[in-house]
């Protein structure tokens, strides 16, 4: 191994570096320093907090919700320790251009799935590393339609969010600025908004197919607002259209939390602990939590805290609360409502694919570069509640082969069809899914390597979901036919996880208030995708980060009033 290879990624697929250097085995953020993701081998000084003195906030999980909150709370002057089960990657040194190797970014500990429509976990929706799932997300950064925040009162389905859209709109702008979202000057849908901080990316051929289809149907389309920079930004170079975004960006063009909120958080005085798996939140005296039991460097530890925030995403967050059951809360911490783990939502991700004569080479550029929000903003001509947004696609080979095998294709037939890879084109939706209590996260009898019961994830579509999917498949066929795509076929998929600790205005019907503060325990908070009362029909991370920015401001206000 040459000197320059010393810091490259720990491979699950072969001989590794010595254990002392493997970021999957030995934590990197310790002894007062954390990796500087922008400079190979370099470090940032990092504040450290003692375990036996209560820190203001112990945050569990450093994804879209946790990292944003850690950053903003630290910037507001609070002491913050963020515990992350996954490793602290150095993308420049650790990320290979290889689907198999990069499976190291996913949450690969077992989960059990069931229900009528069991969902795929792992690479499909769950990350585990400092930065969370956004380290391998597709960067699509969309705002909710304003009416979705009052889905019940404005549109007659689901439930209302406890936050008015105007307030969310302000926080969307804050996040878009923080990530320098690259998007069109004028976005065709929704109320007027400021222009995106960076100019839109060039639309690749896969996106132009979708654009062609929209134009044939006479509906608007737009370049996708993306969290990857279209011009240099600080130490981030512009996106080079290498197209491996969903297995990790090795150039740091992608504005994931790992290169945005996390370095900011560290500079503002937060401590990040990688390879730190939280196993139980401890209930202390006076009905308040006292800290977190977590596993790091071979043993269980305890971090004392004045407040604990759970931000492990919509499966791990309820799992941790359920695993933290105690005599005062026999059905799971903060679960007097009985709703912890319930109302799990995904987005339906059904799509249509085919072939065009031209060479498309859809492996180039971010996977989704064009979309139409037509059915998010049109309420007539629908036989279902909710909305969906078709987006252009750019699957990598393994992903594409799995699309074909899901249709039952194998053998010589599969190899033949795969040789048409560079002519492939298609669209998939992010489709709204209704909240249902029977869709839920519970604990299974099986245990993980820490001896903790694993999550059982139960999911079934409802009739409305199925009608939406049928509508979306029909519409995407029209769209692609209009674009000259032939040999069309449908695919089933899901993406994203939401719900399971919904926020609301009523302690009987929700787990937390609008700030993510648990009704049952005033110093226990939730800050991630599990808060969503409804799923909306856009990718969730912009909304999760906006909620986190808002929560940080609210916590500062509450602290000043002495209400923490």
């Amino acid at each position: 191994m040459s000197a320059s290879d010393n810091h490259s990624g720990a491979s699950p697929g072969g001989p590794d570096r010595p254990a002392g250097e493997d970021p999957l085995v030995t934590p990197r953020a310790r002894q007062g320093r954390a990796p500087d993701v922008f400079r190979p081998g370099a470090w940032l000084p990092m504040r450290e907090y003692p375990e036996d003195e209560p820190v203001d906030f112990a945050i569990i999980g450093t994804g879209a919700g946790g990292s944003t909150l850690a950053c903003r709370l630290a910037e507001h002057g609070f002491g913050v320790v963020a515990l992350e089960a996954g490793p602290f990657w150095r993308p420049l040194e650790d990320f290979a251009s290889d689907e198999l190797e990069q499976s190291k970014l996913y949450w690969l500990d077992e989960r059990i799935t069931d229900g009528e429509d069991p969902i795929e976990m792992g690479r499909n929706n769950s990350g585990r590393s400092v930065g969370g799932s956004m380290v391998h997300f597709a960067m699509v950064s969309l705002r909710f339609r304003p009416e979705w925040f009052s889905a019940r009162s404005s549109l007659g389905y689901g439930v209302d969010w406890p936050i008015p859209w105007q307030e969310m709109w302000r926080y969307y702008a804050e996040v878009e600025e923080a990530l320098k979202i690259a998007g069109p000057v004028r976005y065709p849908w929704g109320p007027p908004r400021g222009r995106y901080p960076y100019r839109a990316h060039e639309v690749n051929a896969a996106g132009l197919v979708l654009a062609r289809g929209c134009e044939a149907l006479g509906i608007p389309w737009a370049p996708v607002p993306l969290a990857t920079v279209s011009a240099p930004r600080g130490q981030s170079p512009p996106c080079v259209y290498r197209g491996f975004c969903i297995i990790g960006c090795s150039t740091n063009a992608k504005q994931s939390p790992l290169v945005t909120w996390i370095p900011r958080a560290i500079r503002a005085g937060a401590e990040i602990r990688d390879l730190a798996m939280a196993g139980r939140v401890e209930l202390g005296p006076r009905g308040r939590v006292s800290g977190v039991h977590y596993h790091r460097e071979g043993r269980w530890r305890f971090q004392r805290a004045r407040n604990v925030v759970v931000a492990g995403y919509a499966v791990e967050t309820p799992r941790l609360l359920l695993n933290s059951a105690c005599p005062a809360f026999p059905d799971g911490l903060a679960n007097r409502s009985g709703l912890v783990g319930k109302n799990l939502m995904v987005h339906s991700g059904h799509g249509v694919f085919g072939r065009v004569e031209e060479e498309v080479r859809w492996y180039k550029g971010p996977p989704s570069l064009a979309l139409t929000e037509h059915w998010n903003y049109t309420d007539t001509g629908k036989d279902f509640d909710g909305g969906y947004v078709p987006m252009s696609q750019g699957p990598l080979p393994v992903e594409w082969a799995n699309v074909l095998t899901a249709r039952g294709i194998w053998g010589e037939d599969l190899r033949q069809r795969m040789t048409d890879y560079i002519h492939g084109a298609g669209a998939k939706i992010v489709g709204e899914v209704m909240p249902q209590e029977r869709n839920r996260v519970t604990l299974d009898a099986e245990q993980d390597r820490f001896g903790l019961p694993v999550a059982r994830v139960t999911f079934s579509y409802c009739d409305n979901d199925r009608r939406l999917i049928r509508h979306a498949l029909r519409f995407q066929r029209q769209l692609l036919e209009g674009a000259g795509v032939t040999g069309l076929f449908d695919v089933e998929d899901t993406a994203h996880l939401m719900g399971t600790c919904r926020m609301g205005t009523d302690p009987v019907r929700s787990v937390t208030d609008a700030d993510g503060r648990c009704w049952d325990i005033p110093n226990l908070w939730v800050c991630d995708g599990s808060l969503f009362p409804t799923s909306g029909a856009v990718n969730p991370s912009l909304t999760i980060q906006a909620l986190a920015c808002r929560a940080a401001d609210r916590i500062r206000t509450l602290a000043r009033r002495g209400e923490l």
Partner: protein
């Protein structure tokens, strides 16, 4: 299809190894993959290994004149040794290693029940027919007890074999995929636009 009928004649992603398309960590990962001896196995027993190789050869038959076939079975053995699953499994499906061991035993039992011979000894057409019935869940051998047959075929057998095959440079050449791309990505993004370091398609 013989390799000589290749859609992208002369294209070799490995030729880009020393260009800006490959960073050091990618070189290391791909080199490790290419160094894997096709006969290497430490997880599967000899009997399982024979069945597995025969199954792989039907799921993704490779051209006989191929210089550098993908060592699918060896890649699967490596996956089993590392116990590298998907991060989830359906409630009625055994864990990764157990699913494969039981699945291979059941395929073997099914072959003996139907044809009185080992799976690897059957003619290709018989093997295909047998795999098709497993795909449909139409099996008779008692060894299938406790395995969700059709789901095993799709979510385990097909999924793992295809993941291994399309993670190999030989497969990337075959489909004209650009392969590793970092730090250099791509410049020409539109219809029928090809960067000089991309594959040239043979036009009919």
């Amino acid at each position: 299809m013989a390799e000589s009928m290749h859609r992208f004649p002369g294209y070799d992603v490995l030729a880009k190894r020393d260009t800006p398309s490959w960073n050091p960590q990618t070189r290391r990962v791909i080199e490790e993959r290419l160094a894997l001896p096709p006969q290497a196995h430490g997880f599967f027993t000899e009997a399982e290994w024979r069945t597995l190789n025969a199954v792989c050869a039907r799921i993704l038959p490779q051209p006989p004149d191929r210089a550098d076939p993908v060592p699918i079975a060896a890649l699967l053995d490596q996956q089993m040794q590392q116990n590298r699953g998907d991060g989830f499994r359906q409630a009625d499906m055994p864990p990764l290693r157990e699913a494969w061991r039981r699945g291979l035993a059941a395929i073997e039992a099914e072959a003996r029940l139907r044809h009185g011979a080992a799976f690897h000894a059957l003619a290709a057409a018989q093997q295909d027919a047998l795999l098709h019935s497993i795909q449909q869940g139409e099996v008779r051998a008692a060894e299938w007890q406790g395995l969700p047959v059709a789901h095993f075929f799709k979510a385990r057998l097909l999924h793992d074999i295809v993941d291994a095959y399309y993670a190999h440079p030989t497969a990337w050449n075959e489909i004209g995929f650009g392969g590793p791309a970092s730090p250099r990505g791509y410049v020409r993004m539109g219809f029928d636009r090809r960067d000089p370091w991309e594959a040239v398609e043979r036009k009919p």
